[in-house]
């Protein structure tokens, strides 16, 4: 009975104490599509991404009913740092949803405005003044927001003297942002100003370190989309150097807060459940420290065969291929077994949102590549008159030699360019290495494949996408991402998204198999594009000279068959060995891996010219 009544009371008092208007709520999701564009148009740094904030404790005086209900301690305010701009998850400050929506746009404009250094009051005031001066429309919005906000601010007359001075300064700054205010020194923080940015946002380097930390653990289980956008207030602490953490000898109640950093002697947990995430949600401040342990879920099964359940699904028993042995200078028949496979866990997927703008541009560019129409004269019908033939016909008729039905028209039937392109991507474990800030090589390859496929499907040329890796000569794995016969659709996209690095690089066998596939294509020109990140190598003797010679032999064979092999590599030392493999015009070294998609598409355009 007490429980039930207590629950009622709790709900009642919480609802009574709540300051917002839940009926008028506007969610960040509803403007997330427009927010980045708007932020950039306001002059915000285009590199910043949109994130949502969590509540931070403001420490201001609360109303009696809030203290009764135990609510109102946290507030969600917007801010910006070197990584992102942060907006509240939802806004229900005003009873009118239109105002709440406008508040989002106001906050973005404010966050995008560069501010002179100063205390938080004057920073916000100066930014507000700059916005109002530059944008008369926004000024009107601000007036509306302000008029609705002022009645919600506490009355300075009813506050203690020091707090009243501060509140007066805030209200003056809100009303007349172009007049500088002096920030009164006072310990008690004022009631947060929802029209302004966070007075003390988490420091830049902390957020940066947190992002870096997140980046270094890309294998960890990803939280869902919404919570990934959420930003926790983090502090970076040094790892407690003591070998063993302290024993919790005192009573747990004497810990001051539950988010204080204490090293305890226990191992990193391996649970898959979301307890950690839930705890992060409740904490004011996350302490982040680096320790030497890595969760085993981040280890890859790289050195041995994985359990069958984790492996890619093989397609049939495999094909035997020869391999070049340079010591013996002969082709060893049936030396390798190549196994076509489909990536495991591939689900149909659309193109990731972040690639959409680039993909759209590429599609447009490559539509221009669609086979050009060629004017053909002497057609029996067509949109244009073939004047030369008319002239000839007339002169012939005058001279008495008439043809019954001469073909006097010109037409433009669609021409055939007849080009097939097979893209073979290196998916060996070395692609897991990092390239600068853009992520791992495999991520760049994945994006490149997606964008390249978008471009190719727009150009209308036949194309296939394959990936390869190997574990000794018994198992050269050829990942079929897109067959020539398949359409490029969500299924194939899903397969490309599902590629994972693993194993080694037996390039020769992969090239031979790709050549065979490509040779079956009925096209006049056949392009074999190889995306690589390093030298050929495998566990057995397939390394150094042996691997290079075998690969070279495979490329020579492809050339002999009339294919056009070409290599794009992100290995900066590729200049040492690639001229030997592909000839000095047969490869390109991409200095910055993140530009790989652009390089690929530009190259392709060059080939088709």
């Amino acid at each position: 009975m007490e429980d039930i009544v207590g629950g009622w009371w709790d709900r009642l008092v919480r609802r009574a104490a709540y300051r917002g208007y839940p009926a008028a709520v506007v969610e960040l999701e509803s403007i997330a599509g427009q927010a980045p564009l708007f932020f950039r148009a306001m002059g915000g740094d285009p590199a910043l991404v949109l994130r949502s904030t969590v509540g931070t404790e403001h420490g201001a005086r609360r109303r009696l009913i809030e203290r009764l209900a135990g609510t109102g301690t946290k507030v969600e305010l917007a801010w910006r740092d070197s990584q992102a701009f942060y907006l509240p998850d939802k806004l229900d400050l005003y009873p009118d949803p239109a105002l709440n929506r406008q508040l989002y746009f106001w906050l973005m404009a404010l966050a995008a405005t560069p501010v002179p250094p100063g205390d938080w009051l004057n920073r916000n005031r100066a930014a507000t003044a700059a916005c109002l001066a530059a944008m008369p429309g926004l000024a009107l919005v601000y007036q509306r927001l302000l008029t609705a906000l002022l009645p919600m601010r506490p009355d300075p007359a009813k506050l203690p003297e020091a707090e009243a001075a501060l509140e007066r300064a805030i209200q003056a700054a809100l009303r007349q942002p172009d007049i500088e205010q002096i920030l009164p020194a006072i310990a008690q923080p004022p009631l947060p100003v929802p029209l302004w940015l966070h007075p003390a946002p988490p420091l830049v380097d902390q957020a940066g370190a947190a992002a870096q930390h997140e980046a270094q653990n890309p294998q960890g289980k990803r939280p869902d989309q919404r919570s990934r956008r959420r930003r926790y207030r983090a502090q970076r602490v040094a790892q407690d150097e003591r070998k063993n953490g302290m024993l919790l000898v005192f009573r747990a109640e004497s810990l001051f807060t539950w988010d204080e950093y204490v090293k305890v002697n226990r191992h990193t947990e391996e649970d898959d459940d979301n307890n950690g995430e839930a705890a992060a949600e409740d904490m004011n401040r996350l302490s982040i420290a680096q320790d030497a342990h890595t969760k085993s879920s981040k280890l890859k099964f790289d050195l041995d065969l994985p359990a069958a359940a984790y492996d890619d699904s093989p397609l049939g028993p495999g094909l035997k291929l020869p391999e070049w042995n340079w010591k013996q200078q002969r082709l060893v028949e049936d030396h390798c077994i190549i196994k076509p496979m489909l990536p495991r866990d591939a689900h149909p997927a659309a193109l990731p949102d972040r690639l959409l703008p680039l993909a759209r541009r590429l599609r447009r560019q490559f539509q221009a590549l669609a086979p050009e129409r060629v004017r053909r004269s002497g057609e029996a019908s067509g949109p244009d008159i073939d004047i030369d033939r008319v002239i000839r016909f007339m002169s012939e008729r005058m001279s008495g030699v008439a043809i019954a039905e001469p073909a006097l028209y010109q037409a433009w039937p669609p021409g055939e360019r007849s080009l097939a392109c097979l893209t073979l991507a290196d998916l060996s474990l070395s692609t897991e290495s990092w390239v600068g800030e853009s992520g791992r090589v495999i991520d760049v390859i994945r994006d490149s494949l997606l964008l390249f496929a978008e471009a190719l499907s727009a150009s209308g040329d036949a194309f296939g996408l394959y990936g390869f890796s190997s574990i000794r000569r018994q198992e050269v794995r050829l990942q079929v991402l897109k067959d020539f016969a398949e359409r490029y659709d969500d299924n194939t996209r899903g397969r490309i998204i599902a590629i994972r690095p693993g194993y080694y690089t037996r390039m020769g066998a992969a090239i031979r198999q790709s050549s065979r596939i490509l040779l079956q294509q009925p096209a006049a020109r056949r392009l074999l594009l190889i995306i690589s990140d390093g030298k050929p190598n495998d566990l057995d003797h397939y390394e150094g000279r042996y691997g290079i010679e075998d690969t070279r032999q495979a490329i020579l064979e492809a050339r002999r068959d009339g294919l056009l092999p070409f290599c794009v590599t992100v290995d900066r030392e590729a200049g040492d060995y690639l001229p030997h493999l592909f000839g000095h015009r047969g490869y390109v070294v991409v200095q910055q891996a993140q530009t790989l998609p652009q390089v690929l598409t530009r190259l392709y355009a060059g080939f088709t010219r």
Binding site: A35, L37, M135, L138, I391, W412
Partner: protein, 268 residues
């Protein structure tokens, strides 16, 4: 298509951004062909029209398209009453008149077309017409001007280096805010305060080039918006039809563009 521009009586208004007029005049005096690059709607065509009027030369404009053939430029035989009649193309006509031949968006033309220009653009300055066996020599006042938009680059559609190298090149961009302000006021008679708002808005939208928009708002679109506003349309609606809708087809992008417009011209 390919119609000669009517000979202008007074020079069309053009607000110089630098010393491009002097450059153009010098190139004309030295009989050099000129290449003008710049984004859509930044005033390339207007500049050429202005200069032609200033120099008192007839201007013949050809808007190039991807089916433009050499015959379309040089001329062709047409069928008359039982006989054929030779008809000069715009290039030949400009040559005979000793005027300016302006090839707009020259990269759109087929590659073989631009080769026709080669003998005209070096010191020979002549145009062989194969079909009639004529060899036309360019009079001193003849000038060839081509333009294209480098922002709108097709993978395939760029000028051949051998063609590019034959021109002196000038780069155009959207005018500086103050110049653009003057252009707007001169072209449409709009009040300065509203013109300034339009120019500020253009500055905001141009930040999006390359991120959210392939190409941003041009001076021409601003003039359109100003004209609509002058005709009594509400600024909000004028900007929507002249600035937001022409730039994108995506609902989200347009909504965001409208939000940007709202910061200058609020909905009443």
């Amino acid at each position: 298509m390919n119609a000669p521009a009517p000979a202008a009586v007074a020079a069309p208004f053009y607000q110089a951004q630098g010393d491009e007029c002097r450059l153009f005049e010098a190139a004309w005096q030295q009989q050099l062909p000129v290449l003008i690059k710049g984004p859509t709607g930044c005033g390339k065509t207007r500049f050429v029209a202005h200069m032609a009027a200033r120099l008192g030369l007839p201007l013949i404009t050809v808007s190039c398209h991807d089916d433009l053939s050499a015959a379309d430029l040089v001329g062709r035989h047409l069928i008359g009453d039982g006989q054929t009649v030779w008809c000069d193309g715009p290039l030949t006509r400009a040559l005979r008149q000793g005027g300016i031949c302006y090839l707009d968006e020259v990269v759109e033309a087929r590659k073989d077309t631009t080769v026709v220009l080669h003998p005209l653009t070096d010191d020979r300055r002549m145009l062989p017409i194969e079909r009639t066996g004529e060899l036309l020599e360019a009079p001193p006042s003849f000038m060839l001007v081509v333009s294209y938009n480098p922002g709108y680059q097709h993978v395939l559609k760029t000028l051949k280096p051998s063609t590019r190298q034959r021109f002196v090149a000038m780069s155009f961009d959207f005018p500086a805010p103050d110049v653009e302000l003057a252009v707007l006021m001169q072209e449409t008679g709009i009040a300065e305060s509203q013109a300034r708002q339009l120019v500020t808005l253009a500055g905001q939208l141009r930040r999006l080039t390359g991120y959210d928009l392939d190409e941003s708002v041009s001076t021409r679109l601003l003039v359109y918006a100003a004209k609509l506003m002058m005709s009594g349309m509400s600024p909000q609606q004028a900007c929507r039809t002249a600035l937001a809708e022409p730039l994108s087809d995506e609902a989200d992008t347009i909504a965001a563009l409208l939000a940007v417009i709202d910061t200058q011209f609020p909905a009443r």
